[in-house]
């Protein structure tokens, strides 16, 4: 299980990186943390002719907090992100989900940008980015552009990024003050890809839910944002029946595939169960915060 040969490129700056991508585009693959790409290369499922290793572009490793948004450089390691105080403070949902991404050894290398660009249908970060209406910044031959999460994820492992574009930054909006959150997922083993997972954020106004944000993973080709469920929750006062209703709306919104680990029916059902439990936990956090 050894990778096929490739040309290795090691840009030091974003400009060098984008220049290389412009040159090799389709025949190139960007190597960030490599925790998903290198296994594919070792198995020779992926045989890029050119490997562009961005790990030495130090300017892409940062976490900035402008009060409303966490701006995270694409090369920032998942482990560093999960431990950053700003992340715990502004977006604990992100911290909690990151702790379930693989294992420490994986997160030490795995990057925020890599996880988003890889767009695994069972990834945690993609669902959170979608739930929070986050956005990413990409640099390419045509310059810099910002892509909203909802426009980013196209299908299995496929984003709307151009092969010549380099993902440079991922922006996670901070949770509203006093909001409650919860990440819940079920996996076969600790650290495995989720059979289904859900992230929930509830913003409260007095005793009622002002807005609800829900993002699901593992239940379709892309992360799912169940608009109907969110609408159903907004402006209502919390109750078990409300949670149940939202769970049903979620089940109606997802179209998972079955695989050897879990049937599509199971994933659909569990997506609802987890949503219900996540809403419950999120609201408890609202009450604790109040």
């Amino acid at each position: 299980m050894k990778p096929a040969p490739f040309e290795y490129h090691c840009p030091r700056t974003v400009d060098e990186g984008t220049a290389l991508l412009a040159e090799y585009g389709d025949d190139a693959k960007v190597l960030a943390g490599g925790q998903s790409l290198v296994p594919l290369m070792n198995m020779r499922l992926a045989r890029p002719a050119n490997l562009i290793d961005i790990n030495r572009i130090e300017s892409l490793a940062y976490i900035r907090d402008d009060g409303r948004t966490l701006r995270i450089g694409a090369l920032t390691r998942q482990r560093a992100t999960e431990r950053a105080p700003q992340v715990s403070e502004r977006c604990p949902l992100l911290r909690d989900a990151l702790r379930l991404v693989g294992h420490a050894q994986i997160r030490n290398r795995g990057t925020i940008g890599g996880s988003i660009a890889h767009a695994d249908p069972a990834a945690e970060l993609t669902a959170i980015l979608v739930a929070l209406d986050g956005e990413v910044t990409a640099r390419g031959p045509k310059g810099t552009r910002v892509i909203a999460a909802r426009d980013l994820f196209v299908s299995y492992l496929t984003t709307s990024l151009d092969p010549r574009e380099l993902l440079t930054e991922v922006c996670f909006p901070a949770l509203p003050a006093g909001a409650g959150w919860s990440w819940m997922e079920i996996a076969r083993r600790h650290g495995d890809f989720a059979l289904a997972g859900v992230g929930v954020v509830l913003a409260a106004r007095g005793g009622t839910i002002a807005t609800a944000r829900i993002g699901l993973t593992g239940v379709g080709p892309t992360p799912v944002r169940p608009a109907e469920a969110e609408r159903l929750l907004a402006g209502r006062s919390p109750s078990e029946d409300l949670w149940k209703g939202a769970a049903e709306a979620v089940r109606a919104a997802v179209t998972p595939d079955g695989d050897i680990h879990a049937s599509a029916e199971y994933r659909t059902h569990v997506a609802g169960v987890l949503t219900q439990r996540a809403l419950r936990e999120a609201w408890e956090r609202v009450r604790e915060a109040a």
Partner: protein
């Protein structure tokens, strides 16, 4: 892996039948099809580059159309072999007039073997469905244009 679906196409059964027998349509609508050379009536030599993201494989194989019952039914078989393994897709297509459009019913059985089957099970089914979906969506667009 068994797959099936239906599409409503904005064209008459005869037009649809013509389109799904037109090598150009097949060429431009079969996902990843790089080359399609006729080797006989309804049989073609095909080169496909199928895959997603970094996981791409080039497959050399054949595409053939059998047990035609013009203008409503045929079987289509696609076989390919490449570094990442091999695949065999068998599908049947049935056309049915529906108002001034056509209801296209398809069933497919996709077999994938070798490396890609051994390590790709988590997404294989979904990706298969996606590719076939792309095929019919493309037909739909062509016919939409011509209807």
């Amino acid at each position: 892996m068994k797959l099936e679906g239906t599409n409503t196409l904005p064209a008459s059964v005869d037009t649809v039948w013509k389109t799904i027998n037109d090598p150009d349509a097949l060429r431009s609508c079969t996902p990843g099809l790089k080359e399609l050379k006729a080797t006989g009536p309804d049989t073609y030599q095909a080169t496909l580059q199928i895959g997603i993201a970094a996981v791409k494989g080039t497959y050399a194989g054949t595409l053939s159309i059998t047990d035609k019952r013009a203008p409503t039914h045929y079987k289509i078989t696609l076989e390919g072999t490449g570094g990442a393994g091999f695949m065999k897709g068998e599908g049947s297509v049935d056309l049915e007039a529906q108002g001034n459009g056509t209801l296209l019913k398809w069933t497919g059985d996709l077999q994938v073997g070798g490396l890609i089957a051994g390590v790709g099970q988590r997404m294989l089914g979904g990706v298969g469905k996606m590719l076939i979906g792309q095929f019919f969506k493309c037909l739909e667009e062509r016919l939409g244009g011509s209807a």
